[in-house]
Every structure is written in structure tokens, then in C-alpha cells.
């Protein structure tokens, strides 16, 4: 087995949607789903410490969400 590192995995980029008109979108960073899980879900973000609200998630290339090509997903963490 080679010691060389494999290709760098790309994570899911997450933005917090504005809650009021005029508020900017906030980039939260890049995150990975828990081992063995395909996609990042609302409960994962909650576990990461994200507060209630609406988030927009961009899936990495080659890992679209369900739907024909959908790489974008709205994720809601309820109050």
C-alpha cells in the first residue's frame, strides 16, 4: 500500500441564510458528513453547533443531492 495521501476530499460548503431583509449571507465554512453517511443533513449541522435557522448547502462535485443534478440544498434547523 502506498504512503502517498489520496486525493483531497472536498466538503460541503454551508452558508447561513439571512433572517431579515438587508442582512448578508454568512459563509460558515466547509464540513464533511459523518463517516458512512452520504450527505450533510440538518441534524449534522445541529450536532456541529449550528443554531436554529435556514442554511444553504453546496454539495461537492460528484456528490449531488437527490434529484437530477441538484447540488444545492436548503437545510433548516428548527427552533
Amino acid at each position: 500500500m502506498s504512503d502517498e495521501p489520496g486525493p483531497k476530499r472536498q466538503g460541503y460548503k454551508v452558508w447561513r441564510n439571512p433572517t431579515q431583509p438587508g442582512e448578508p449571507v454568512k459563509y460558515m465554512g466547509e464540513f464533511f458528513p459523518p463517516a458512512g453517511q452520504c450527505h450533510i443533513l440538518g441534524c449534522d449541522l445541529k450536532q456541529l453547533g449550528f443554531g436554529p435557522g435556514e442554511y444553504t448547502v453546496l454539495a461537492p462535485p460528484g456528490r449531488p443531492y437527490a434529484g437530477l443534478f441538484s447540488k444545492w440544498r436548503k437545510v433548516v434547523i428548527p427552533n
Binding site: 460548503k13 431583509p21 438587508g22 444553504t56 434529484g67 443534478f69 441538484s70
Partner: protein, 330 residues
């Protein structure tokens, strides 16, 4: 991120900076904005039902961005899926909306709209020459072709159009009241540039036409025939490809849009230029006053998914055409 979500006013350097900071493409920045500011859950389902079209439009937009047309790319992404809120200034404050259109040549939605506007614009002249035909004059179809070099750029298209114009003028300037209308086309999924011309003129010998075309353009293939239908049907036949996409690969559509930047596709000469009609779409499809009470209308900032605007109970008020877009009948 620009707060308003206004499709016509994006700050490209700011957008590029944010996209770089977040490690995403500018195209994705545009998509993100449309998702955040226009996200609609009108049908109780998070998954956008037009994700296939979004992917298609995103790939076309990517080519436009790479060639320095970011605002066009943004319009292409939002076209017909987003709208602007229009507010009535009357006492009842009627709530209205108007869809966003990109008005680009190779948009599956705006192409047919441009086709309808072109028919409206050029029908009066065609009807006039059909009604009162001069002796010896007929509607004929000429096809000018150019050598397919495998590439297509603005300079090449402009030169081709100049060559068509100069050839027609050389052949027809000795006659009075001739007219010509032509439409640039490309072969399906390729760069084979050619022009279909509807010409109202006396008989032109094929060999004379071929000589003139060769002398002026250097290209050799051109042919003429009597229009197989007459009057407005000939116009529909000429312009039909304006309403159809010339490729099924989004990257080719993007490259064509770049190549035709600032180039007209449809040209008129002679009586067809002099007697082209008004573009009634500019006058009749834009509401300047509230259709319910006649009060003034005000556009609110931002764009939003059409489903969401409908769910807000807003009434459709037709196209909103800013001044520079009114010139876009090409």
C-alpha cells in the same frame, strides 16, 4: 454578498472576491444568490423542480463568465425563473410582479420571444411588397455560406455581415425599391456560419450572384431560389431558427453567445429597413400604471423565485423593459 439580489446590478469585482474567499466559482456565487434570495418552497418540497434547467443554465453561464460576460451570465441563470416585485403606489397598494428575462439570443425562453418581436417588426414591409408587387419583382431566398474554420468570433461575424450587405448592394443598387432581410445562422452543434436572406428584387442570375459573393467575401457557395411560400409565411420561414437553439450542448450555446456579443443576427436593407414596423412589445407588454387602479408603479429591490411571488398573492404585470433592453431586437 450583494443584498438586493438585483439581476441587472451585480458588483462583479465584489462577487469575484467573495467567490474566491469561499472557494467557489463565480457561477456558483450567482447560483447561491438565487437560492438564498429566491428560494421557494411553494410546493412543500425542498428539491427544486427545475434543477436540470439550472444545471444547463449554469454551464452556459460558466462560458460567459470565462469570457468576461458575468452580468449576462447572471441574467441567463435567473431568466424566467425569477421575477421582481412591483408595488402600486395607490391607496390599496396592489401587489404585482414581473418576470426577469435575460433577452439573450440563445435562451430557450427568450429566443421565441425575440422571434415574435421580429415577426411583428418586419411583417408590415413584407405584407406591403406582397400586396403591391412591382412587375418583375419577387420574394426570393438566397443562402450565403462561409468556410467553416471550426472557430467563430465577433470579428468574423461582423465581417461576414458586411460581406453579405456589400454583395446585396452591389447586385441591387441599380434597381429601385428592393429590400432584403437576413438572419445569421450556424449549423447544429457546429460553427458553420451562413445567412438566409429573403430578398425582394428582380431576377438575379446564379452565376452573377456567385461571382459577386466570391469577389467580395472570398467564399464560393451561395444559391438563390424563389421563396417557396409567399408573404408573411416566408418571413416565418426565414426567422424560425431565431426561436430554436442551434446546439444541445450548453458550452456551445455559451460560445455562440460570446461570439455574437454586440453582433446583430437579423439585418434589414432597402425597403425592408425603411418600412419595418414598431416593436409593439415595448409599448404593450409593459405596465407603467397599476392595472387595478391606474396608480403609479414602483419596482422594489431584489429578485425572487416566481413561485414565491405567486404564493405572495401578487398579480403578473408583464415584462419590465429597461431602456437599454428595448433596443434588443436582434
Amino acid at each position: 454578498m450583494a443584498k438586493s439580489g438585483d439581476s441587472e446590478l451585480i458588483d462583479v469585482p465584489q462577487a469575484t472576491g467573495e467567490a474566491e474567499a469561499w472557494g467557489i466559482e463565480l457561477r456558483e456565487w450567482m447560483e447561491l444568490r438565487t437560492h438564498v434570495f429566491g428560494n421557494a418552497d411553494a410546493f412543500g418540497d425542498f428539491i427544486s423542480e427545475d434543477s436540470a434547467e439550472e444545471e444547463w443554465r449554469g454551464r452556459v453561464a460558466q462560458v460567459l463568465i470565462e469570457n468576461g460576460h458575468a452580468p449576462k451570465a447572471n441574467r441567463y441563470i435567473e431568466c424566467c425563473r425569477y421575477g421582481v416585485r412591483i408595488q402600486c403606489k395607490g391607496p390599496d397598494a396592489h401587489q404585482l410582479f414581473s418576470p426577469v428575462y435575460c433577452d439573450l439570443r440563445y435562451c430557450p425562453w427568450c429566443g421565441p420571444r425575440q422571434f415574435a418581436r421580429l415577426i411583428e417588426k418586419h411583417s408590415p414591409a413584407i405584407k406591403a411588397v406582397t400586396r403591391e408587387r412591382k412587375p418583375g419583382y419577387l420574394l426570393r431566398e438566397i443562402t450565403f455560406t462561409s468556410l467553416n474554420t471550426g472557430e467563430l468570433g465577433s470579428a468574423q461575424i461582423k465581417r461576414f455581415n458586411d460581406d453579405v450587405k456589400n454583395t446585396l448592394k452591389k447586385l441591387l443598387r441599380r434597381y429601385g425599391e428592393w429590400g432584403a432581410l437576413w438572419c445569421d445562422e450556424v449549423g447544429f452543434n457546429n460553427t458553420n456560419l451562413h445567412a438566409h436572406v429573403l430578398v425582394y428584387a428582380p431576377y438575379i442570375e446564379q452565376s452573377v450572384l456567385a461571382n459577386a459573393w466570391r469577389t467580395i467575401s472570398g467564399h464560393s457557395v451561395v444559391y438563390i431560389k424563389k421563396a417557396h411560400v409567399n408573404g408573411p409565411k416566408a418571413l416565418v420561414h426565414l426567422l424560425k431558427y431565431v426561436s430554436k437553439l442551434p446546439a444541445d450542448v450548453p458550452e456551445i450555446i455559451g460560445q455562440l453567445e460570446v461570439a455574437f456579443h454586440k453582433c446583430r443576427r437579423v439585418h434589414a436593407l432597402g425597403v425592408f429597413y425603411d418600412f419595418s414596423g414598431d416593436d409593439t412589445d415595448n409599448i404593450e407588454s409593459e405596465w407603467t400604471n397599476c392595472p387595478h387602479c391606474g396608480a403609479e408603479l414602483e419596482r422594489l429591490p431584489g429578485t425572487c423565485r416566481l413561485e414565491k411571488l405567486i404564493m405572495e398573492g401578487r398579480t403578473f404585470v408583464g415584462t419590465r423593459r429597461v431602456k437599454w433592453k428595448r433596443e434588443l431586437v436582434h
